[in-house]
Amino acid sequence: MIKVENLCVNYGGIEAVKDISFEVPEGEIVTLIGANGAGKSTTLRTITGLVKARSGSIKYMGEEILGKDTVSIVSKGITLVPEGRRIFPDLTVLENLKVGAYLRKDSLEEDIEWVYSLFPRLQERHWQLGGTLSGGEQQMLAVGRALMSRPKIMMMDEPSLGLAPLVVKDIFDIIKEINKRGVTILLIEQNANMALHTADQGYVMETGRITLSGTGKELLENSAVKEAYLGK
């Protein structure tokens, strides 16, 4: 679905992404794992057009999207749940969901119902300002907001960040659930364990390069990964 080839990105004066290539097949969950500052976020941000690439190519269903502006990329069915959730604190929960469907003109009822069914907590709190939610609820809202645009592919930047273990588990369950509904998922995570358990396919990023790749299982078994990211 997404095919990244020889992507190079300079960001903040540093060569953040150095000639990486990877692929996200339709209907799968793919994860990029790696330490802070390895260039994972930059990669996602480049796909959505928030960051300009220096060279390379990003094809979405065969179409080159590198260099296109964010709004037109998003309108093609790509969505990003950004790092730190970045929900709109001054908008209510419901408004946050509606903003997610900003580009759509049709009725939102059905999708709101779906999101509420995935995250019943959001329905309870639909009138609250986004800023008053707890971290986990904000993450749910961020995911729900992303779903409102009816994406074909959802990219997630560290969804487990700062969340209690139980909540993390919930989130990953829901990611799988969403995936079953036909949404392709590209996930980046520091929580390698969780991510690799969930993912069909995984890539390991280190200082701007992809150093390892394989299925989730393969990587979990890999001794280098174990040592570096699982702490053992």
Binding site: N36, G37, L161, P165, M194, H197, G231
Partner: protein
């Protein structure tokens, strides 16, 4: 022989309790790690210690040489705390971008300067001496961290790993007795990471330091630390030696992720 003690230090932002009843004690010469998932309040704890935040409740006590006679530094200005002997680095490297590597280090020596501004501008002999000493000191430090060749380059033109090292060199230039390192290994590749572990240990011995560090990189943490505190949601959920922590159920659950999902 405690260098740093926090007594029930708590930090609230609005309704959120970022750090709840933090009680840590760092002995002289130790390397202590503060770990925990992102958002657990580790950096907030650093900010309370260095004066960026004033704790909502509780106290931070410090003694440069370690000992019973601890003085409170709660709510003191960051620059004064630095003068007392606590230096830090930042999670998201904060170098002075439009200055050279050498200048970055020399700035950190400004707190030792005794000449006034006009003496400095006019070039009193005393200032000359001070400037010379600052410069020699800075160059020596740069040599020590292996950045001497880049001394006249723009600090932000350095690669990531070197920027981290420069930040440490800059912190050392304030002549601290306690060094706080906020994720020193972030963004480093495995080789650099390995070097870093060794480096931190060396500077501890060489500069007679006590080190408190935040790190995600478990390998480093387990390798380097004498003791570890684990934070989760602002609360201290565990403390102990690396072995103790590695085998602590709560820590495994909270920090290392839910290890076995299926």
């Amino acid at each position: 022989m405690s260098v740093l003690t926090t007594k029930g230090a708590t930090m609230r932002f609005g309704g959120v309790v970022a750090v709840d009843d933090l009680n840590i004690e760092v002995e002289r010469g130790e390397i202590v790690a503060l770990i925990g998932p992102n958002g657990a309040g580790k950096t907030t704890a650093f900010n309370m210690i260095t004066g960026v935040y004033t704790p909502t409740e509780g106290d931070v006590l410090f003694n440069k040489d370690g000992g019973k006679d601890m003085r409170t530094i709660t709510g003191k200005r960051p620059d004064l705390i630095t003068k007392m002997g606590i230096a830090r680095t930042f999670q998201n490297i904060r170098l002075f971008g439009e200055m050279t590597v050498l200048d970055n280090v020399m700035i950190a020596q400004h707190l030792h300067i005794k000449s006034g501004l006009f003496g400095a501008v006019i070039g009193w002999p005393r200032y000359y001496k001070e400037e010379r000493r600052m410069k020699d000191g800075a160059l020596a430090l740069l040599e020590r961290v292996g950045l001497l060749e880049e001394a006249y380059e723009l600090s932000t033109s350095l690669p990531y790993g070197k920027q981290r090292r420069l930040e440490i060199a800059r912190a050392l230039a304030t002549e601290p007795s306690l060094l706080l390192l906020d994720e020193p290994a972030a963004g480093m590749n495995p080789t650099e990471t390995l070097e870093l572990t060794e480096f931190v240990r060396q500077i501890r011995d060489e500069f007679d330091l006590t080190v408190l560090l935040i790190e995600h990189h478990m390998q480093i943490v387990m390798d380097i630390s004498d003791r570890i505190y684990v934070l989760d949601f602002g609360k201290t959920i565990a403390r102990g030696t690396p072995e103790e922590i590695q085998n602590n159920e709560r820590v495994i659950e909270a920090y290392l992720g839910v290890a076995d999902v299926d």
